[in-house]
């Protein structure tokens, strides 16, 4: 380790970093703009100037840009030297010649890196007397505001958007002091990571438009560490909430990134950042509802739909208690349906209440089998689930049947970085340090090999070396052959089509020859054979290389992998429940269905589901948003969302992560498990399961119970800290030390200050009182340090710049027993049949915006969701005589759907692509993949039957 001297102090440092990031790691304050911990140095802003001295004799030194300076062993540097200090001040003065001093109306104010650096530079007087150059702003879509006059031309935006995220519609335009950062014309920023511009831009050029609409300053946001609930990657977030001006009740106001070294690092996807607004949407359930008994004279509602009215929660809880009591006496069936989109704790509570024999996963048989497969595969010790940095380091990537940009977006961003590994290798051989960003990028080394086989590939197409667009059956068969080719190339069937054979051999060669190969797949093609053959490729590769293979498997929902741990025998799906209810054996007594945070219309085909629901005498729903299932419910309890509650999710890597309540939900909203617990408390007689429930006080009581009862989930025991944790006798404050107006907020109703809400679950207060320092508590999500008001301050809480968060990473991997996966028989190769419009295979196509249930209700996102479409292969389209944008009808076993045709050269022939989960098409999702017939739309529009 090299030793250097900075301002007279000696330090031992990591020689791989540049001088700037070394100083920051050492905790020294050196201002900067264009450098970014993840994107490296380009030397544009000149803000990070320091002095370097030849030797201890050298009195004058030389001004250097610390971000562009490699560490020299024995090097002598200074931050404090007057010349350097003055120069840094002069940079601010130069920048201020054009910056408008519009801080009061700027959304960046109070967390502006430019404000911070201005202060830090010590620059106070500006002497510029001229006019400022001005720009016109652009409309950039519902997510991002544009205010170009604030630009300080640090080039970070385009470096992130183009170089890092592969965006193609934001550029530096013009030259000299008129450089403009914008699109070629007005319109939405198309890249799915655009939201990061808000954090990447050091000033207020790109700000969060959704936040603007209910803006408060950063210090007025109440925060807690949370986990993004919009896919199963498990990115860490810092949601921020605050009372709304006139209703007193807090609303969620924004999501920002919360650094997690192994998952999201510095960046989130736009679904994760902007999806939060579903929480404040009109479809949010805030009150207890019950079905209206009075006759409805006329209604536009569909047959079977119920009308609801608000009722007193106590009435509903009492009713629930009665049902529970009846069930205890054997006079009622109480059946619980769980959900992969809510916490382990909520699922566990329902399971405890109804008993394991009456608890169902809320998944279809197919979906449950897929998740079971994922978990089984991950249990094999030849398989390793890679973290994001490991993905970024892979030197060859095979993606099978998963359009990760749309199903696990953050992972696709990691894959994009991995594509540059050959280039980085070349840089190393030329002795160019990797942080020297533009120098590395000018080496036009080939991309590292990325091979894709599947239905659709979004966003990554330009960096993949080979693509095979095929149906899941063919993808599985490709994978099977690939496994053969890896273990024994001579065993391949000679009947294979030459081009396919070549791709298989090529891929096998790449995987065998690479040192850190990575395979990515998942459940989204809903095809078990794909997963099985992927597993085979991975294990064969592991046998060949005598090392575990990195295999990333993406699941559908935030807690898919958690939920499945309750169903280790593979039983308990909705199809089984339907069979059970149909059998009528226990129909002597009435049945109550209790549905936990689940829209069953997205799970089971409509026919089966209606049948299932009609078997129940009563439907009780605990959920967050109104949805088709809620229309069928007799009783609806308002459940809290992730940001309003505490609990545990298990992500694609098997990492159990706890999220904490940011604020308390509006109205009667509370955690689903608390509703159940309330009801149990009203029961006079309590058998063992109920008395256990009655004793719960804290969310962590449930986590502990889960850990005791389920050995695989033992990790929940060590997740923490728990509610009794204290630092110097204090809780961690959710509000910043300068949270304003707390005595005034309620003054309209009451002049005395309300006592803060008590949090029974977390060692955190809903107030300013307590510990604020993120270094002392991993619970602190308000990333702030004196002088560093923006999110850039995160380095103060890392072991080193870009390293682990101090206090360790959040989350613990669950320990599943190591088990060799079974030998699955090879899937049969599908026969070639001519494409036939009366029998096309429908395949799911995922969309970053539109496929995920909750975020679809977010205002900004709902604006950009595409209209439903049916994607048809261009050759098939000719054969079937259908044309782009024409309306067609899709006849399925559950009704007819109508949408525009979209013609694609890549969608496999004989199949059509159906957007998964899109509004109006949700009920089609359970049928995917499946068969339908296609015909031009003639009759007037009817959707469904």
């Amino acid at each position: 380790m090299p030793t250097i001297t900075i301002d007279g102090e000696k330090y031992q440092v990591d020689g791989e970093q540049n001088l700037l990031s070394t100083c920051l790691t050492l905790g020294l304050n050196v201002p900067y703009f264009c450098w970014h911990p993840e994107m490296g140095s380009v030397g544009a802003c000149r803000q990070c100037a320091m002095m370097e001295y030849k030797d201890s004799e050298d009195q004058h030194g030389r001004l250097i840009m610390s971000c562009m300076t490699p560490i020299r062993d024995g090097g002598i540097y200074s931050v404090k030297d007057e010349v350097a200090e003055e120069f840094r001040g002069s940079i601010i003065e130069d920048l201020m010649t054009n910056h408008p001093h519009d801080c009061p109306v700027c959304e960046e104010g109070g967390e502006c890196h430019l404000q911070d650096m201005t202060e830090m530079s010590g620059h106070t007087m500006r002497r510029y007397r001229g006019t400022k150059r001005t720009h016109r702003n652009q409309y950039l879509g519902p997510f991002i505001n544009h205010e170009m006059n604030r630009c300080i031309t640090c080039y970070r935006c385009v470096r992130f958007y183009n170089d890092y995220a592969g965006g193609e519609d934001l550029q530096a335009l013009g030259r000299n002091h008129q450089v403009y950062f914008g699109r070629q014309e007005e319109g939405r920023l198309e890249n799915g990571f655009s939201g990061n511009l808000v954090e990447v831009c050091p000033t207020g050029v790109f700000t969060d438009k959704t936040f603007s609409s209910h803006f408060v300053r950063k210090w007025d946001l109440q925060t807690a560490p949370s986990v993004c609930e919009h896919c199963a990657v498990g990115c860490n977030t810092a949601p921020g909430a605050r009372e709304s001006g006139n209703s007193n009740e807090p609303i969620l106001r924004r999501i920002t990134n919360l650094y997690h070294h192994d998952i999201n690092g510095y960046f989130l996807c736009d679904r994760g950042r902007f999806g939060y607004e579903y929480i404040n949407s009109a479809t949010r359930i805030q009150n207890v509802l019950s079905v209206r008994q009075e006759d409805v004279i006329s209604s536009t509602a569909e047959k079977g739909d119920r009308m609801h009215r608000e009722i007193n929660p106590q009435e509903a809880v009492l009713h629930l208690a009665e049902q529970i009591a009846m069930a205890n006496q054997g006079k009622r069936n109480l059946i619980g349906i769980g959900s992969p989109r809510t916490s382990l704790e909520n699922n566990y509570a329902l399971r405890k209440l109804v008993g394991s024999g009456n608890f169902y996963s809320g998944l279809s048989q197919k979906d449950q089998e897929l998740l079971h497969l994922v978990s089984t595969i991950q249990q094999d010790d030849r398989i390793q689930s890679p973290s994001t940095p490991e993905i970024e380091n892979a030197d060859a990537i095979l993606i099978l049947g998963e359009d990760i940009y749309n199903t696990a977006p953050r992972i696709s961003l990691a894959v994009r970085q991995a594509a540059r590994n050959r280039q980085k290798q070349q840089a190393k051989s030329l002795k160019i340090p990797l942080w020297q960003d533009s120098s590395v990028r000018q080496l036009e080394g080939d991309y590292s090999p990325i091979i894709f086989a599947g239905t659709e590939l979004s966003n990554l197409e330009k960096i993949t070396s080979n693509t095979l667009f095929e149906s899941p059956e063919k993808v599985a068969s490709f994978a099977c052959n690939l496994a053969l080719a890896i273990s024994d190339p001579t065993s391949l069937s000679p009947d294979l089509e030459p081009s396919l054979l070549e791709l298989i051999t090529h891929t096998a060669g790449i995987l065998r020859g690479s040192s850190k190969p990575l395979i990515i797949s998942g459940t989204s093609s809903k095809h078990a054979d794909t997963l099985k053959s992927v597993a085979q490729v991975a294990t064969v590769l592991s046998d060949y290389k005598k090392q575990p293979t990195m295999l990333y498997l993406a699941c559908d929902e935030v807690n898919s992998l958690g939920l499945i741990q309750f169903f280790n025998d593979g039983k308990g799906n909705l199809d089984e429940l339907l069979e059970r209810l149909k059998k009528n054996t226990d129909n002597q007594i009435p049945t109550s269905l209790m549905i936990l945070e689940n829209d069953l219309y997205r799970r089971l085909d409509k026919k089966s589901l209606e049948q299932l629901l009609s078997q129940a005498d009563e439907i009780i729903l605990l959920d967050t948003l109104l949805n088709p299932t809620s229309k069928r419910a007799d009783w609806i309890f308002p459940a809290s969302v992730t940001a309003e509650s505490q609990g545990t999710f298990i992500n694609n890597n098997g990492l159990a992560q706890r999220f904490y309540a940011v604020y308390e939900g509006k109205g009667f909203i509370q955690e689903s498990w608390r509703w159940l617990m309330d009801a149990v408390n009203f029961c006079t007689e309590k058998p063992a399961n109920l008395s256990a429930i009655a004793e719960w006080q804290h969310s962590t009581d449930l986590s502990d119970a889960i850990a005791r009862e389920f050995p695989v989930l033992k990790a929940l025991d060590s997740l923490g800290p728990d509610e009794d944790f204290r630092i110097d006798g204090l809780k961690v404050a959710r509000q910043s030390a300068r949270y304003s107006g707390r005595t005034a907020i309620h003054a309209e109703k009451q002049v005395s200050e309300n006592p803060p809400l008590q949090d029974p679950d977390a060692p955190m207060s809903f107030s300013m009182e307590g510990i604020h320092n993120p270094n002392r508590s991993p619970l602190q999500a308000n990333i702030w340090s004196p002088g560093w008001n923006s999110n850039q301050s995160i380095f103060k809480f890392q072991e080193e710049v870009g390293g682990e968060r101090r206090g360790g990473p959040s989350g613990i991997r669950i320990e599943r027993p190591q088990r060799v996966m079974p030998e699955w028989p090879a899937p049969s190769t599908p026969p070639e049949v001519a494409a036939d419009p009366s029998h096309v295979q429908m395949l799911p196509l995922y969309r970053l915006f539109g496929s995920e249930e909750l975020s679809n209700q977010a205002m900004g996102i709902s604006e950009v969701i595409e209209a439903p479409f049916v994607m048809v292969n261009h050759i098939d389209a000719k054969a079937f005589d259908i044309h782009q944008r024409e309306l067609i009808e899709l006849e399925t076993s559950c009704g007819t759907y109508r949408a525009e045709v979209r013609i694609s050269p890549t969608i496999p022939s004989g199949t059509v692509g159906i957007p998964y989960g899109l509004p109006d098409f949700e009920t089609l999702s359970p049928l995917l993949p499946g068969y339908a017939s296609l015909r031009p739309a003639e009759a007037p529009a009817i959707t469904e039957d």
Binding site: V42, G43, A44, C45, R46, Q47, A49, R62, L63, I64, M68, F87, S90, I91, D94, L95, T97, N98, R127, Y128, R129, G130, R133, I152, T153, Y155, A172, G174, R175, N176, H177, Q178, V179, Q426, L430, I432, Q436, S438, S439, Q442, L443, E444, G445
Partner: protein, 424 residues
């Protein structure tokens, strides 16, 4: 003995020396000789000859070539690039060489390409030089026809294609790394150094960039040898150079003269001295980005280090003369406007500092300057000085300004005190 190797084919007529005339005058002899030599030997000879880059920085050309990685493991593809972006205010030498004797440049490039092992060369020419580009293209066609370029030149295994790349404007494209970006079709932002282009240049491959005039020195240096070449110079530096003078002299123009020719001789003898009634107040010795020198410097020889010691730079060797009836503040304002406009917009001091300088100078010129503006200008010169900015453009802009503030300080003060330009 040949004393004007650069311009021996240049006549009064505005025509290019065609291949026939070029060959008659001994053309391509250097190239013929070079291709029988070991590349190392060529590089050594160029280095020993003491040829210093004529693009402005004056770096030893052979030394520059020697940084290109060679031998096993080095990249196969390498490039040779000619910097013909001539846009420095007051510089008009490369245009002459390209328009009148295009083969000389091609021959120089061929030798350089062979020496470093490049098989592709680009002449990066500014978009406004239509005639030069056309004449170069014709010359390339002629040379290919006769086998001086193309594949298997002189029946050896060596092949070389040279393409003319017309640029689309901007002074910064002359900065050699910005030039590479422009050639790659990108925004011409300079690149960080290291890595130097010799290691990672065009498309990340080893690349040598030299000025037009530099290449034109090569053929004869190879053909006639180090001793002859060094003997051409009158002072410290080797070889000859195309010098030029513009401004209010009697006979503005260009002349090929020995390195080390005294400035007085160039201005008074060749350029015919000042126009009637005018006196010389100062001059920029080598284009717009060099420091003003005064009449006291007239007897200095045009040698890189001599001019350097006097506080300026030899630059491109084309002198701009300032007479006593032209406003020095106005001239500096004009130059600053040029540099501010031509800033690429990458680094702060240049992008935002230069427009500020322009505004201050404009104010002074308009009679609205304040006494403290002079300190502000001096401070700005510090901020855009060497080492502070990303490339040499802004330090170049500082040179005329900082020297004018010293040499013509009273003019600035007069503007401010009298609230007007005394020259109007």
């Amino acid at each position: 003995m040949l004393t004007n190797p650069l311009t021996k084919n240049v006549t009064d007529q505005n025509v290019a020396a065609d291949l026939g005339r070029y060959l008659e005058n001994g053309g391509y002899r250097g190239w013929r000789k070079a291709h029988t030599m070991a590349p190392d030997k060529i590089i050594e000879q160029v280095k020993d000859g003491g040829l210093r880059g004529r693009g402005g920085a004056g770096f030893n050309t052979g030394l520059k070539w020697s940084f290109v990685p060679r031998g096993e493991g080095s990249p196969e593809q390498k490039f040779i690039v000619c910097n013909a972006d001539e846009m420095e205010p007051g510089t008009f030498k490369d245009r002459l060489l390209m328009e009148r004797d295009p083969h000389l440049l091609l021959e120089g490039m061929a030798i350089a390409a062979y020496a470093i092992g490049a098989s592709i060369g680009y002449i990066f020419i500014r978009g406004e030089y239509h005639l030069a580009a056309e004449r170069l293209e014709n010359a390339i066609a002629e040379a290919r026809e006769q086998g001086f370029l193309g594949s298997n030149i002189f029946d050896s295994k060596f092949s070389l294609e040279i393409f003319v790349h017309r640029s689309a404007g901007n002074y910064i494209c002359g900065e050699e790394t910005a030039l590479l970006n422009a050639l790659e079709g990108r925004r011409a932002i300079p690149r960080a150094k290291p890595p130097f282009p010799q290691v990672s240049g065009l498309w990340g491959k080893p690349t040598v960039v030299n000025n037009v005039e530099t290449f034109c020195n090569i053929p004869h240096l190879i053909e006639l040898g180090v001793d002859w070449y060094r003997g051409l110079g009158r002072g410290e530096d080797a070889g000859s150079k195309v010098f030029g003078v513009s401004g209010k002299v009697n006979n503005p123009g260009t002349w090929e003269l020995p390195m080390g020719t005294p400035i007085r001789e160039i201005i008074e003898k060749h350029a015919g001295g000042m126009q009637d009634g005018l006196e010389l107040r100062g001059f920029l010795p080598g284009g717009g980005s060099t420091d003003f020198l005064g009449p006291e410097h007239l007897d200095l020889p045009m040698d890189y280090d001599v001019i350097g010691k006097a506080g300026s730079r030899m630059g491109t060797g084309t002198i701009i003369v300032l007479d006593n009836q032209t406003c020095p503040v106005g001239l500096v304002l004009n130059l600053s406007q040029f540099f501010a406009r031509e800033s690429c917009g990458w680094c702060t001091p240049c992008r935002d500092g230069l427009p500020w300088v322009v505004k201050i100078l404009q104010r002074i010129e308009d009679g609205e300057g304040l006494p403290e503006d002079l300190d502000l200008l001096r401070e700005q010169c510090q901020r855009i000085g060497p080492g502070k900015t990303f490339c040499a453009l802004a330090p170049g802009a500082a040179e005329p300004l900082q020297s004018a503030l010293k040499l013509f300080e009273q003019d600035f003060i007069d503007h401010i005190e009298n609230h007007c330009c005394p020259y109007e």
